[in-house]
C-alpha cells in the first residue's frame, strides 16, 4: 500500500503536470506531489521499522534497510528541491530563459525522474533496475537542454550518448549475471534476475562469469556515478541544465547509480572464488578523488566547480565501499547521506546567487553577503560543510573513512589527504570572494526559498554531532548487507 502510494504519487504527478504544468499554480502542485511522495516514503519507512524487510508485488519489489533509507532521502530531497524550484523557475521565466511550455516539460519530467529513481531503488528485479536507470537518463536529457543554448544542447548530447553507451555495458553485465544465475536457479527465467533469489544462491554462481558481469556493471553504472575516467558527461550536464536538476542529479541520481553497483557488489563479494570487487572500486574511487580535486582549479563556472566536487565525493564513497567491512561501509553510507543533503543545499544557494549576478561565472558573482546575507551565509556554510569542516556530518564520515583507510589501505591515506587538501584550497579560495567583497548583485522578482537550504544544512550538522540510534541501526544493517572485500 505504502509502496503503491510511493510510486503512484510521482506517476500521477507526471501525468497531471503534463497537462497543468504551465499553469500559474503548477510549481505549488509540483511541491504538493513532492510532499505526497515524501509522506509515502515516511510511511514505508515506518512499516519497514515495524515489520522488517518487505517483499511486494509478486516479489518484484523488495524493501530492506539499505534501500529504504535511500528511498526516504530521495523523496526528501525531491520534495525540498521542488520547494526551491518554486521561486527559482518563476525567476527564470521572468528573466525570459524559459517559456511556459518548457516549464510544463520541466514539471512533468521532474516527477517522472523521481518515479524512475524510486523504481530503481525499490525494485527486486535487476532487469527492471536497468530499465529504470535508463529511464532516469531519458527523463532528464530534455531537462538538461531546457534552455536550448548551444552549450546546453552539447551537454545534453554528451549526457545522452555517454550514459546510453555506459548503460548498454550495464545491460550486457545484467545479461551475463542472468546467464550465471540461470544455471543455478533454473531455466524458467522468472526468478533468475530477482535480487533476493540471487542473494540466496550467491555463493554458487559461476565465478568467471560473475567477474566478467561485475566489470561490465561497474563500468556501466559507474559512468552514471560519474567515476573518473567515465565522468565526462557530469560537469556539463550539471552546469548547463537548470539548477534544480543539477541539485537532484548530484544529490540523488549519483547515489542511485552507486546503489545499483553496490547491489551487485554484495553478490560478488560473498563468492570467495570470484574476483574481489573491492580493489576495483578502491582504484576507481581514488582516481576520481585525485582527478576531480585537481580539476577544481581553473574552473570558471560555479556549477561546474561543484559538479567536480560531486565527482570527488562519489570517489570517496566508492573508495570506502571498496575497502568494505562494517566501519567503512557505515562511513560510506553516512557520507552518501550528508553529501546528498549538503550538495543539493549548495546548488540551491548557487542557483539563486547565479540569478542575482546574472551569470554563472564565479568572477561575476561578488559580495553576496551584502545584498542577501542568507544566500551568502548559506553558500559559505554549505561549502565549509562539503569541505569536511567539523562539526558537520561530512567531517564525521570523512574522518571515519580516513581512519579506516589507515588500517586497511595505508598507502592510499596520504593520497586522499592531499587530494582533500587541494579540494579545500580550490573551493574555499573561490567561494570566499563570492560571499564577501563588493557587490553588483540585483534584486530578484521572487523571494528565494532558503528554507530547504538551512533544513538540509541543519540535518547535516546534527548528523555530524549525533547519529540517531535508529539511523545508526539502519546503517549498520545496510553495511552488513553490502559486505566486505
Amino acid at each position: 500500500m505504502e509502496l503503491l502510494l510511493l510510486l503512484g504519487m510521482p506517476a500521477a504527478g507526471a501525468v497531471t503536470l503534463g497537462f497543468l504544468g504551465a499553469r500559474r499554480y503548477a510549481p505549488e502542485l509540483n511541491a504538493v506531489f513532492g510532499s505526497g511522495t515524501f509522506l509515502a516514503a515516511c510511511a514505508l519507512t515506518a512499516r519497514v521499522i515495524r515489520h522488517g524487510n518487505l517483499l511486494l508485488g509478486r516479489e518484484q519489489f523488495f524493501i530492506d534497510p539499505f534501500n529504504v533509507f535511500l528511498v526516504t532521502l530521495t523523496a526528501f530531497v525531491g520534495f525540498t528541491t521542488s520547494l526551491f524550484a518554486r521561486p527559482y523557475m518563476r525567476v527564470e521565466m521572468e528573466h525570459g530563459r524559459i517559456t511556459a511550455g518548457r516549464l510544463r516539460l520541466y514539471h512533468s519530467m521532474y516527477q517522472l525522474f523521481t518515479l524512475t529513481m524510486l523504481v530503481a531503488l525499490t525494485t527486486n528485479n535487476m532487469g527492471l533496475l536497468w530499465v529504470a536507470m535508463e529511464a532516469a537518463t531519458l527523463s532528464t536529457v530534455l531537462l538538461v537542454t531546457l534552455y536550448r543554448t548551444a552549450a546546453s544542447l552539447e551537454a545534453g548530447w554528451k549526457y545522452f550518448i555517454l550514459c546510453g553507451v555506459g548503460i548498454a555495458q550495464a545491460l550486457f553485465g545484467t545479461i551475463l549475471l542472468y546467464f550465471a544465475a540461470e544455471k543455478v536457479l533454473g531455466a524458467e527465467g522468472v526468478t533468475a534476475l530477482l535480487w533476493t533469489h540471487l542473494d540466496a544462491v550467491k555463493t554458487q554462481l559461476e565465478p568467471a562469469v560473475l567477474a566478467l558481469a561485475f566489470v561490465f556493471l561497474l563500468v556501466g553504472y559507474g559512468t552514471k556515478v560519474g567515476l573518473a575516467p567515465l565522468h565526462n558527461w557530469l560537469p556539463d550536464a550539471h552546469a548547463e541544465g537548470p539548477t534544480p536538476i543539477s541539485a537532484v542529479l548530484s544529490g540523488l541520481l549519483l547515489n542511485v547509480a552507486l546503489f545499483a553497483v553496490l547491489r551487485f557488489k554484495s553478490i560478488m563479494s560473498a563468492n570467495p572464488a570470484a574476483l574481489a570487487p573491492g580493489p576495483l572500486m578502491v582504484s576507481l574511487g581514488l582516481l576520481s578523488v585525485v582527478f576531480a580535486s585537481f580539476m577544481l582549479y581553473r574552473r570558471q563556472d560555479i556549477k561546474r566547480l561543484f559538479a567536480y566536487s560531486s565527482i570527488e565525493h562519489m570517489g570517496i564513497i566508492a573508495f570506502a565501499f571498496g575497502m568494505g567491512g562494517p566501519v567503512a561501509n557505515f562511513a560510506a553510507l553516512l557520507h552518501m547521506t550528508v553529501h546528498s543533503l549538503t550538495k543539493s543545499a549548495i546548488f540551491f544557494t548557487v542557483g539563486h546567487a547565479a540569478q542575482k549576478a546574472g551569470s554563472q561565472l564565479m568572477d561575476d558573482i561578488r559580495g553576496l553577503i551584502t545584498l542577501s546575507p542568507t544566500i551568502g551565509w548559506g553558500l559559505m556554510v554549505g561549502s565549509l560543510a562539503i569541505l569536511g569542516m567539523p562539526p558537520f556530518g561530512v567531517f564525521a564520515s570523512e574522518f571515519l573513512i580516513l581512519t579506516t583507510a589507515m588500517k586497511q589501505q595505508p598507502w592510499a591515506t596520504p593520497i586522499l589527504v592531499v587530494a582533500l587538501g587541494v579540494a579545500f584550497a580550490a573551493i574555499f579560495g573561490r567561494v570566499q570572494p563570492m560571499v564577501f567583497g563588493e557587490t553588483s548583485a540585483r534584486r530578484l522578482p521572487h523571494a528565494p526559498a532558503l528554507l530547504p537550504v538551512f533544513t538540509h544544512l541543519a540535518i547535516v550538522l546534527v548528523l555530524g554531532l549525533y547519529v540517531p540510534p535508529y539511523l545508526a541501526q539502519w546503517y549498520r544493517a545496510a553495511a552488513h548487507l553490502i559486505g566486505g572485500r
Binding site: 530499465v131 535508463e134 536529457v141 537542454t145 545534453g156 548530447w157 545479461i175 551475463l176 531455466a187 566478467l212
Partner: protein
C-alpha cells in the same frame, strides 16, 4: 548434439550475416544505406529469434520476435528515415579513422571479442552458444562505429546496432531475458529514439547542422 540439423545451420548463418552486416555498417558512409542496413539487421535478428523459438518451443520468444520486427525492422528505421529526410542529412563526413583502418581495427576487435566470450561459451548449455562470440563482436564493432563517426545520425545507428548485439547475446546465451525485462528494454529504446528526434531538431535549430564538431565547445573551458 542429436539433431544438428538444418535449422541450427540457418541460425548460424543468421549469426554470420549479422557479423557481416556490422562490417558493412562500419564501411558505409551514406546515412540512408546505414539505416537500411540497420533495418536488415533487425530483420535478421527477428528471423533468428523465430528459428530459436521454433527450435526450443519457448513461447515468449515468438513474442519477442514479433516485437523485434515491429520495433527494430520497421518502426525505428522508418523514424530514422523520416528524420533524415526532414533534416536532410544524407552523408557522413570522412570518419576520424579512414575506412580501411577502421576495417582492420574491426578484425582485431572480432578476435578480441571471441577471446572475451570464451568463458561464457564454455559454460553455456544452449545450442546457439557458438554465436555468443559473434554477439560480443557486434556489440564492440558498434562501439567502434560510435567512436569513429562524426555525425549524430551515424552515432545513433551505432547505438541501435549495439542494442541489437546485446539482444542477440542474451538470446544465444540464455534464450532471451525474462519478458518483463525485454519489454522494458524495448520501451526504453523506443523512448530514447523519440527523445532523440526532439533533440535533433533542437540541435538543428541551434546550429543548422547535425555535425558533432559543433558540439565541442565545452571542451575548451573544461
Amino acid at each position: 548434439m542429436a539433431h544438428t540439423t538444418f535449422d541450427l545451420q540457418l541460425l548460424n548463418a543468421c549469426a554470420a550475416l549479422l557479423l557481416l552486416l556490422s562490417f558493412a555498417m562500419l564501411s558505409q558512409r551514406r546515412v540512408v544505406t546505414l539505416v537500411n542496413l540497420l533495418a536488415v539487421q533487425g530483420g535478421l535478428l527477428a528471423v533468428a529469434t523465430l528459428l530459436l523459438a521454433w527450435r526450443t518451443g519457448q513461447h515468449h520468444l515468438y513474442f519477442s520476435a514479433a516485437l523485434t520486427v515491429a520495433l527494430k525492422a520497421a518502426f525505428l528505421p522508418w523514424l530514422l528515415h523520416r528524420l533524415i529526410r526532414r533534416l536532410e542529412v544524407y552523408w557522413d563526413t570522412e570518419p576520424l579513422l579512414n575506412i580501411s583502418g577502421t576495417m582492420l581495427m574491426g578484425l582485431l576487435i572480432v578476435v578480441f571479442a571471441f577471446g572475451l566470450a570464451q568463458p561464457i561459451t564454455q559454460l553455456a548449455s544452449t545450442t546457439t552458444r557458438s554465436a555468443i562470440g559473434i554477439a560480443v563482436s557486434v556489440i564492440l564493432l558498434a562501439f567502434l562505429m560510435m567512436i569513429t563517426r562524426r555525425k549524430a545520425m551515424s552515432q545513433v545507428v551505432g547505438f541501435l546496432s549495439m542494442e541489437n548485439g546485446l539482444f542477440f547475446g542474451a538470446m544465444s546465451a540464455t534464450y532471451g531475458m525474462p519478458m518483463v525485462v525485454e519489454l522494458g528494454v524495448a520501451l526504453d529504446v523506443l523512448v530514447a529514439m523519440l527523445v532523440l528526434g526532439v533533440f535533433f531538431f533542437q540541435i538543428r535549430e541551434q546550429f543548422d547542422s547535425l555535425d558533432l564538431h559543433h558540439l565541442e565547445s565545452l571542451k575548451e573551458h573544461d
